[in-house]
C-alpha cells in the first residue's frame, strides 16, 4: 500500500489508462488527418488483371456472393470517383463482368453497369453485352427486360425502337416488371410521342429510384426536354434524345 492509500497495482493501472487515453486521443486526431490528407488506395485497380469472374469464383471458396457484394461496393465507388473527376470508366465493364459472373442474379448490377457504360462510359456495345448477359442469366426478370428496353430507347447516337419495343413487350409479360411496361411497349410500337415517352421514362426514374444521383439526373433530363419544347427548339430536344448524357435507372 502506498502513502496515499492507493494500492500500487491500481496506481499503475490508472497510469496506464491515462496514457491510453492521451495516446488514443492523438491516434483519433491523426486518423482524421490521415483520411483527409492522404490519397485513397485504389483496390479496384488491383482487380483489373483478373481474367474473369468465373475463375475468380473458384478462389472465393463458396463465398462468391460476398465477394460480389464487395466488388459491387468497389464498382460503385469507382464509378462515383471517376464521375467526380475525369469521367473515364475504363475498368467499369471488367468490374461488372466479374461481379455478375460471381453473382449472376445480381440484377441491379446489370442495370447500373449497363447504363453507366452506355451513357457515361460511351461504350454501348459493352453495356448491351452486360445487359444481354443479365437477360440470359435471368430470363424471367421483367425488371431487367424493362431496363434493357429503356437502354435501347435512349441508345446514344440513335434510338433502337424495334428492340426497345421488343423488350418492353417481354417485360410486360413478366410478373415483376414495372406496371408501366405495357404502356411503354404500346408507345414505342406506335413510334409516336417521342418526347412523351422519353419524359415519361425519366419521370419513372425521378419518382421511383432510390438513388439520389439518379433522381437528380432524371429531373435534369426532364427539365431539358421541357425547356426545349417550350422554347420551340424541338430539333435540339430530338438531338438530345438521341444522345442523352446521363441516365441510370434503378427502378425498385
Amino acid at each position: 500500500m502506498s502513502r496515499s492509500g492507493v494500492p500500487p497495482w491500481l496506481a499503475r493501472a490508472l497510469a496506464a489508462w491515462a496514457v491510453a487515453l492521451v495516446l488514443g486521443t492523438c491516434a483519433y486526431g491523426l486518423a482524421a488527418t490521415l483520411a483527409r490528407d492522404l490519397p485513397r488506395p485504389h483496390p479496384l485497380e488491383e482487380l483489373s488483371y483478373y481474367p474473369s469472374g468465373r475463375r475468380m469464383g473458384m478462389v472465393t471458396l463458396g463465398h462468391a456472393e460476398t465477394f460480389a457484394d464487395l466488388a459491387w461496393m468497389r464498382g460503385v465507388q469507382y464509378y462515383g470517383e471517376h464521375r467526380r473527376t475525369d469521367m473515364r470508366f475504363t475498368r467499369l465493364y471488367h468490374v461488372f463482368d466479374i461481379l455478375t459472373s460471381l453473382s449472376p442474379r445480381f440484377v441491379p448490377a446489370y442495370v447500373f453497369g449497363g447504363f453507366a457504360l452506355a451513357q457515361e462510359g460511351g461504350n454501348f456495345e459493352r453495356a448491351e453485352a452486360l445487359m444481354l448477359k443479365g437477360i440470359e442469366e435471368n430470363p424471367t426478370s421483367g425488371l431487367l427486360a424493362f431496363e434493357l428496353g429503356f437502354l435501347y430507347y435512349v441508345k446514344p447516337g440513335g434510338r433502337d425502337l424495334n428492340r426497345a419495343g421488343e423488350y418492353f413487350e417481354q417485360a410486360a409479360r413478366l410478373p415483376d416488371a414495372p406496371p408501366s411496361a405495357r404502356r411503354f411497349a404500346a408507345y414505342v410500337r406506335q413510334n409516336a410521342g417521342d418526347f412523351a415517352v422519353a419524359r415519361a421514362l425519366w419521370q419513372e426514374v425521378a419518382r421511383h429510384s432510390e438513388n439520389r444521383y439518379l433522381r437528380e439526373m432524371a429531373e435534369r433530363e426532364i427539365r431539358k426536354i421541357e425547356r426545349a419544347l417550350t422554347t420551340g427548339r424541338v430539333e435540339l430536344a430530338r438531338k438530345r434524345l438521341s444522345t442523352p448524357s446521363v441516365s441510370i435507372q434503378q427502378t425498385p
Binding site: 493501472a13 486518423a31 485497380e45 461496393m73
Partner: protein, 254 residues
Amino acid sequence: MTVPLIARNTFREATRDRVLAGVVIAGGVVILGTQLLHTLALGEGRRLTTDLGLTTISLFGLLIVLLVGTSLVAKEIERRTIFNLLVRPISRPAYLVGKWLGLSGALWVVAGSLGLVLWGVLALQGHGAMGPAVLEGAYLAGLELTVITALAVLFSALSTPVLSALYTLGFYAVGQWSWDLREFARQAPGALKSTLEVVANLVPNLPVFNMRALAASGEPTTVYHLVLATLYALVYCGCVLALASAAFESRDFK
C-alpha cells in the same frame, strides 16, 4: 533493461518457430509463382508481381500474428511460466512491451526479406527501378503488422488464443474497411453519421498502410505519407499497449 531482454527472447523464440520459417518459404514461393501467371495478366505481369508480392507480405504476416502473436501471453499463462517472470522485478507493462517488440522485430525480418525477394524478382524481369516503391510498400506493410501485433498482444493478455485470434482478425477486417466506414458516414443521417465517424477514427486505419496501387505502377509515395503513417502506427500501438497494460495490471494470477 528488462524490455530489450524480453524482446530479444521473444524474437529468438519467434524466429525459431517453424511457423515463421514455413510462412517465409511459402511467401517466397508465392512471389516466384506469380511468374507462372504472367500469361494470364495480359501484359500486366509487372503489376501482378508487385501487387501479389506486397499482398503476400501483408497476409502472410497476418498469418504469423494469428498463429504466434495471439498465443504470446496466453500460452505463458496457460503453462504458468509467467509466474517465473512476474515474481522478478519486471513490471507487467515492460513484459507486454517486450513481447510486442520481439514479435514485431520478427515480423519486420519477414517483411524485409520478402520485400527483398520481391525486388529481386522484379530486377530479374528488368524492373529494378521499382525498388524504392516496393521497399516503401514493404515498409508500410511492416508498420501495419506492428499495429496488428499490438492488438494481438492486447487480446492475448485478456483472453484465450482462439478468441484473441478471432478478435484480432475482426479488428483487421474492420480496420481495412475504416475508410469505407468514413464514406458511409458521409451519406448516413444524423446520429448514425456521428457514430460511424467516431468508429472510423477509433478502429485501426489500416488503409493508411496500403500503397499497393502506387507501388504496382512503380510510383513511390510521399515522405509526408511515410512520416504520418509511422507516427500513426507508433501512437496507435502505444495506446493499445497502454490499454493492454491497464487490463493486465488488474489481472489476478493467484
